[in-house]
Symmetry: C2
């Protein structure tokens, strides 16, 4: 049986005592919703007997193409279980066989895409790496997204035989403070790739610039600084990249005005890779960039990649876990929210957290931890070993 802890930013995920087997009579708890809507209101706690595993993605806002599956086998009312990223420690097994050949008691497993956990969706992380729960719970989605975007569009990965020698390579990204953005900065640094990082202005901007610089960012600019024409930032960036450097990759999770400006800075044949649309508007790009500068705009979604690269995932995750263990890839700042007490208590706590997230007051990635009902109370458990 697995004890679980879950990572998410806007997309909550939770379910306790998930099994690396197929059936059981153990009671599980999960964060669920029975209708789409305001995340501060629709999330609630749910108890159920663990049923047979079923595949299905569990996402609350209904904007993702893979809608959470509505389950009617978990109780009197149909529910959808939240969750697409988490970590659990193996405590035992419901069934012997395949599972025990790979996982050992004490190992951790990280996953994406399945809250009811078929064994094949688990990525085992050997206990010998000594990763914390916080490190493991934030590993499944964002770092691999960064890793793939730095590998698959322009050959920047040092293991890629097509990586250019001689010309220092650069990347520009918006949303550089996101969990993906921070992973981009650190992986690029490790690979000898320069980064130009754009972030929102904020009262604590200098501290943020210092934080990203400490992670390995070469340059950090606010969107205002980047878009201010009196700064002549374009020639400044060209100077940073230099004649013996090359800027061919832009990573976009926002899609505002700055995105077209990032695309304009790319050399001929550059790639603009979109992995998010926080600005919630269409991406507006001048046709001349496509025609005359051979721009390619494309996108990345880890779920698509995983579906088409079943064998490449585990080695990549081990490479990333190795970077983490070596202190070269730090997890984003996290806050553990312990779910405990009555279903009403849990519901209230979920609502409070979602409100803080919506108002942008969390500032950290929130990890949900289901308190085992036999465990000591949550107040004692918010340390890094949660």
């Amino acid at each position: 049986m697995l004890r679980s802890s879950f990572a998410s930013k806007r997309l909550f995920t939770s379910s306790s005592r998930l099994l690396a087997g197929t059936t059981s009579s153990i009671e599980a708890r999960a964060v669920v919703f029975t209708e789409h809507g305001d995340p501060t209101k629709v999330l609630k706690a749910h108890r159920y007997k663990l049923p047979k595993l079923a595949k299905g993605e569990n996402v609350i806002q209904g904007v993702y193409p893979s809608k959470p599956k509505v389950r009617d086998d978990l109780g009197p009312e149909p529910v959808s279980i939240m969750g697409n990223e988490g970590v659990a420690t193996v405590e035992g097994f419901v069934e012997d066989g395949e599972v025990e050949k790979t996982l050992k008691v004490g190992d951790k497993g990280t996953w994406a895409s399945h809250a009811n956990l078929p064994f094949t969706s688990l990525i085992p992380l050997p206990a010998s790496l000594h990763l914390t729960h916080r490190q493991s719970a934030t590993l499944a989605i964002n770092p691999p997204t960064a890793y793939r975007m730095l590998s698959d569009f322009v050959p920047l990965n040092p293991e890629d035989p097509n990586r250019k020698k001689g010309k220092k390579q650069w990347v520009i990204q918006n949303g550089a403070n996101s969990a993906v953005g921070q992973a981009v900065i650190q992986i690029a640094k490790e690979w000898g790739v320069g980064t130009i990082n754009l972030v929102r202005d904020r009262p604590s901007i200098e501290a943020l610039k210092e934080q990203l610089t400490a992670l390995g960012a070469d340059r950090v600019l606010t969107y205002d600084e980047f878009l201010d024409r009196s700064n002549d930032i374009r020639s400044q960036i060209k100077q940073w990249v230099g004649k013996d450097g090359e800027l061919l990759l832009a990573l976009n999770c926002v899609g505002g005005k700055e995105t077209a400006e990032m695309a304009k800075l790319l050399g001929v044949g550059g790639k603009l890779v979109t992995y998010g649309g926080m600005a919630k508007t269409a991406l507006a790009l001048p046709p001349s960039l496509f025609i005359f500068k051979k721009l390619t705009a494309t996108g990345f979604w880890l779920t698509n990649w995983v579906a088409t690269h079943p064998r490449e995932r585990t080695p990549m995750m081990h490479a990333l876990a190795g970077l983490i263990a070596d202190g070269k890839l730090k997890e984003p700042e996290t806050e553990v929210v312990v779910l405990e007490g009555s279903d009403d208590d849990v519901r209230q706590r979920l609502s409070d957290v979602m409100k803080r997230l919506e108002e942008g007051r969390a500032g950290k990635k929130v990890l949900l931890h289901w308190q085992e009902e036999s465990e000591p109370s949550g107040a004692d458990r918010q340390a890094d070993d949660v």
Copy 2:
């Protein structure tokens, strides 16, 4: 020496008696401009002794990245010669040598990019193909643009070993009535690829639909029909393509609202190829298409392609000339405007033609023909043998 005839739509091109050699004392005439500006006003006739050849692209509106070279060796005033597409018949040679090995008297040559014609920029079209001047003069840019866009992004060319078998392939395009669009329809037809064609509404829309259908278009829709939601055109198009068909390529020379709708119709991994921006606005595309549907937006410009594929051009041009000779690729409707008489007469005629083009009243591609001063008058020469 070559006798010349020139094709253009908005971009005039002209210069008579171009040489397949390097220097001479023959007097040439050309359409030139000495300042950028309103094309109905700035174009004029110019006489000069043919100088040494110089490379340079000659484009009037100054919107292309390759600006026309200003020449100060052609007379007292600096001028820029117009022209990037045309045809000429070989009548003789100024210099013997390389040229005569490939070209024979009576052959035609078609070209792009150079008004002062270095031999290497000529694509020889053997006299044995019996192409008319109208066919040859319109061959250098638009049909190869169509050919490459159907070959290089999704493997639709029957000679491509990666072309899928079993699934009928489809293409959707806007501006389908353009010279490129008409070539797309006909080449796709020849290759067994279905086409869905979008055009502007107009009083003669039924005649246009019939004309494009006669060329091989499977479906022709106006933008209004395409964007009218009450038509539920999306499910209709899905039905046309069918479960055993695939729509992975969209060709865009407009960039209006219809472009995002074309992109939405593409299957997962589809390609949106932009080769023009007639709407003169940014291309607006939903980020979700890039992230979840693996859309790739890119562009095509023949000049870029030619620069990077020096050996593949002539075989492609011969394949296209073969399609024309077989009656499978018809040139767009053309109108020959004969330039003759005094420089003022020529200037007036150029101004009239540009006005008609600007007002959209030409309806046809305009070919400029410089009347040799010893030839019979233009009135007798507007037949297809011009």
